[in-house]
């Protein structure tokens, strides 16, 4: 039986001069999944993608694709078609010739090339534009040609290097949906590099969050968003409130924590904590409620500093009694806006406990 693991990275390291860009990367990627490498620029995500494609040779570790160790294979033998950020379409070739290029390199018979190119163009909805040149197309169309050029290779894996960053916001959203549809229809394994957390959350089966050359967290979008493993991940994904705390004791999935000046709460947790361990509580603005019900474990008091109307929600900036600023989102508020002294809080299961490693995004 075919192994479920398509891409296996074993202790991959890459050094550029003094710069250790990839630090002990271990990762297994399953067939047919949409994986996103997420992180700010310089975090190593692009370096890893290029190492998989063979543009860089890794200094240590092994890269396995489909059960084969590919460390020593040159890029033209790896079978890892890539969609480049700037598309890198061949300007002197028509759309057809661009898409056919990889097949021509494999010296495929004419009829097969014809049929496969047409199929790939149909997948990206470019049928009929075969004879155009790249400069005669819009940015969105060029992006599709780049996609078709990779799809046509029928490779088990496709690499995408920030392919949407040159499109405008509206088009980006459209292409996002299409890309995900194509991936699911064809059962492709896609590795997608981006620094856009929204892109990552909306498209991926799994997200790999990179932090200075190492993987901070590997998980589903929900896990990454609601259960960030590190402060860095919590900070990088979405907006969140942090408050330092200490675990006093733990019983099963209940942890008693002390936070602020003498405040205490019993929170739900999946992990086990040592007594007196320094932790950070991460609370999303949408998990906080103004005038919280009695049963909410976590409670604070403060003064509204300012507020901002964002359409579906009102965002409040609140200064608590201890001088710390909080962001609280209120949904479906109609015309009411709060002012002056307010109480706010969150339910026990909406607060996420993170070890305090001092690392911030």
């Amino acid at each position: 039986m075919e192994s479920q693991v398509l891409l296996d990275l074993k202790d991959v390291n890459k050094v550029f001069g003094q710069n250790h860009v990839l630090k002990h990367i271990n990762l297994q990627i399953e067939r047919g999944k949409f994986i996103t490498f997420l992180g700010p620029s310089g975090c190593g995500k692009t370096t890893l993608l290029r190492s998989i494609a063979g543009f860089y040779t890794v200094d240590q570790g092994e890269i396995w694709i489909d059960g084969k160790m590919v460390n020593d294979l040159p890029p033209y033998k790896r079978g890892t078609p890539m969609v480049f950020q700037e598309y890198a379409l061949f300007p002197h070739m028509t759309v057809f010739d661009n898409v056919a290029y990889g097949l021509d390199m494999q010296k495929r018979p004419e009829a097969e090339v014809q049929q496969r190119v047409q199929a790939a163009l149909a997948q990206v909805k470019l049928t009929g534009l075969e004879h155009r040149y790249p400069h005669e197309m819009s940015g969105g169309q060029q992006q599709r040609v780049a996609m078709a050029r990779a799809l046509v290779m029928n490779s088990p894996i496709i690499l995408l290097d920030e392919p949407l960053s040159n499109l405008d916001a509206k088009l980006r959203e459209e292409v996002r949906v299409e890309l995900r549809n194509i991936q699911q229809e064809l059962g492709l394994t896609v590795i997608y590099v981006t620094h856009d957390q929204l892109e990552a959350l909306s498209m991926s089966d799994y997200i790999v969050v990179f932090n200075k050359g190492k993987i901070d967290q590997y998980g589903t979008p929900h896990e990454i968003y609601y259960k960030p493993r590190t402060r860095y991940v919590a900070d990088f994904i979405g907006t969140t409130n942090f408050i330092e705390a200490a675990v006093e004791r733990q019983e099963g999935d209940q942890a008693a924590v002390a936070y602020g000046q003498g405040r205490r709460a019993v929170l739900k947790t999946d992990e086990s904590w040592a007594a007196n361990q320094r932790v950070i509580l991460s609370i999303r603005p949408e998990s906080l409620r103004l005038n919280p019900p009695e049963e909410y474990a976590f409670r604070m008091k403060g003064k509204v500093k300012s507020s901002m109307f964002l359409g579906e929600k009102e965002r409040y900036f609140i200064l608590d009694d201890e001088g710390k600023e909080w962001i609280v989102d209120a949904y479906d508020v109609g015309q009411t806006t709060y002012d002056g002294e307010v109480a706010f809080g969150a339910a026990a299961d909406k607060i996420h406990i993170i070890p305090d490693d001092g690392d911030q995004a």
Partner: protein, 551 residues
């Protein structure tokens, strides 16, 4: 409210702005007098009879054929060599890339006729290599005529091809080659399907540039061609014979291909080249380079070309500093003292003075033209722009011919003064500066100037504190370029020199033709010294702000 446009509106605005009016009028007068009027005179001077004579005498037909054949051959070889040389520098891992870049730059420091001189010193009758071949292999080397001319023009113009092709190779985004590799391409297939195809427009451009340059070149054909006569040489003969009509006919024939190429380039340029859609290179990914065995071949190729160029310069230097190289190898400064540092031989000094004056005027005029064309409204702007750019398409031989035919008689007579020499150089170089400065002026965003005005600067202050400093690089670069070209031009000024105003390039040519090689070599060394010295001074003044030796 819509901004008012139209001739009357722009005219009335111009009349209210006297300083601009003066600039516009002066520009029109200069360009009409020195560009449009001479063109008309040449066309009228040519006359029907002369066209008849030209087409009936086989001698002229043969010269035309010779010109076409020799310039095409030279253009092919110069382009091939230029391409391989540039490819080696940009796509291989060979050592000594910087050295090879400098070597390709060196021929630009000397007039192309110096290559002809060096060729004679090496391969001419009594040349170093000819004699050696004779004594060792008993082979009588006779390269005068087409073979010699072909070799010399190839070497003289290969730097032009090299630089043109380098520009294109540099603009090819490594992304594309990397993408091709990602799709399974490599080695020669990658080169053939991607790199070469993308470089092709530049290769064609290089070929055309070299071809039209060879087509109208005068010095080397006269020096080495022997009985193999070319059009430019025939023109020279007709001017000496006082047959301006026939000379004009041939001048017009020289211009036609040049204008065609000029038109073609503009057409292609306006359509936009490939490189504009390929985007900027991905950071961190380097260009894919050639294999080790290819590297070895490329290195040998570039080394051979370099040895050839170095030996040409070395033999010239040896002749300049010895009594009579090959026969009496005693070191001497006599030749230099006699033909460079003596008041009776002012050729190098003349070159320096005329080139500097003309280069300064050319850049100043280009600046004025670019300023009024980009920033001021006035009627007839298209005509002014056209006549400012036109000379770029005219071969130097033709510019010189047109000026001498026009100003040796008629209402304005300037023959015999240095004015025509300065003007001829200016006309050849000003369009380059004009184009560059127009582009720079357009790049200085109007909003930057508006910001200065908004902060209280008047229009003169804006110009001196904002615009000119931003243009400084372009101005100096164009001045340097014009100066170097002026120092080395022969074709442009050959008809215009007077006994008092002989310039170095002509002097080299004359001494070489009469066989006094050590004097020709001494003038060549003096000329290169003067060029390098001046560039050094400019470099000292502007330091890192200006890149003169951009390798």
């Amino acid at each position: 409210m819509k901004e008012k446009k139209g001739t009357r509106e722009s005219l009335s605005r111009l009349l209210k702005d006297p300083s601009s009016l003066v600039l516009v009028l002066t520009s029109f007068i200069v360009l009409i007098l020195f560009v449009i009027y001479p063109l008309i005179v040449v066309v009228f001077t040519s006359g029907f009879d002369n066209w008849g004579t030209f087409f009936s005498k086989p001698r002229y037909g043969r010269a035309l054929l010779n010109t076409v054949v020799s310039s095409s051959l030279s253009a092919v070889t110069a382009t091939v060599i230029g391409f391989v040389y540039a490819y080696a520098i940009h796509y291989s891992n060979i050592a000594g890339k910087k050295f090879f870049r400098i070597i390709a730059f060196i021929p630009l420091l000397a007039p192309s006729v110096m290559s002809g001189l060096a060729f004679l010193l090496l391969f001419g009758r009594g040349g170093m290599i000819s004699q050696w071949m004779n004594s060792v292999f008993h082979i009588e080397l006779d390269l005068y005529g087409l073979p010699g001319l072909w070799i010399v023009q190839t070497i003289s113009y290969f730097p032009l091809a090299y630089m043109t092709i380098t520009g294109v190779l540099r603009s090819i985004s490594p992304n594309l080659e990397i993408a091709a590799q990602n799709l399974g391409a490599r080695g020669f297939r990658l080169f053939r399907t991607i790199t070469f195809k993308l470089a092709l427009p530049g290769v064609i451009n290089a070929f055309l540039l070299v071809a039209i340059n060879c087509f109208a070149d005068f010095g080397n054909p006269k020096l080495i061609g022997g009985n193999y006569s070319l059009l430019a040489v025939e023109i020279y003969g007709e001017i000496i014979n006082n047959e301006p009509g026939l000379a004009s006919v041939m001048g017009i024939i020289l211009v036609i291909p040049a204008l065609l190429v000029f038109w073609l380039q503009n057409k292609v340029l306006s359509k936009g080249s490939y490189s504009t859609v390929t985007g900027k290179p991905v950071s961190g990914l380097k260009r894919i380079t050639t294999s080790r065995s290819t590297d070895v071949l490329l290195f040998i190729f570039n080394a051979l070309i370099s040895v050839f160029i170095i030996s040409m310069f070395a033999i010239t230097v040896l002749f300049a500093f010895t009594k009579n190289f090959g026969r009496d190898n005693t070191f001497t400064l006599d030749h230099l003292m006699k033909v460079v540092f003596s008041s009776s031989s002012p050729a190098v000094m003349n070159s320096l003075v005329l080139s500097l004056v003309s280069a300064i005027l050319a850049v100043a005029f280009a600046l004025v033209l670019a300023y009024i064309v980009v920033r001021k409204p006035f009627p007839g702007k298209k005509l002014l722009d056209f006549s400012a750019v036109l000379p770029i398409a005219l071969p130097g031989t033709f510019v010189g011919l047109a000026l001498i035919v026009t100003f040796s008689k008629g209402p304005v007579v300037l023959q015999g003064s240095a004015v025509l020499i300065v003007m001829a150089m200016l006309l050849k170089q000003m369009p380059v500066g004009y184009r560059g400065l127009t582009a720079s002026f357009k790049q200085v965003d109007k909003s930057i100037e508006e910001a200065a005005t908004n902060l209280g600067a008047n229009s003169r202050k804006t110009l001196t504190t904002i615009v000119f400093p931003m243009l400084q690089k372009t101005i100096v670069a164009n001045f340097v370029y014009a100066f170097m070209k002026n120092m080395n031009t022969l074709s442009t000024i050959i008809f215009l020199i007077t006994p008092k105003w002989v310039v170095a390039a002509v002097s080299i040519f004359n001494y070489a033709e009469t066989g006094t090689y050590y004097w020709a070599a001494a003038v060549a060394v003096g000329l290169m010294g003067a060029t390098l010295g001046t560039l050094g001074i400019i470099k000292l003044i502007f330091r890192s702000k200006v890149k003169i030796f951009d390798f």
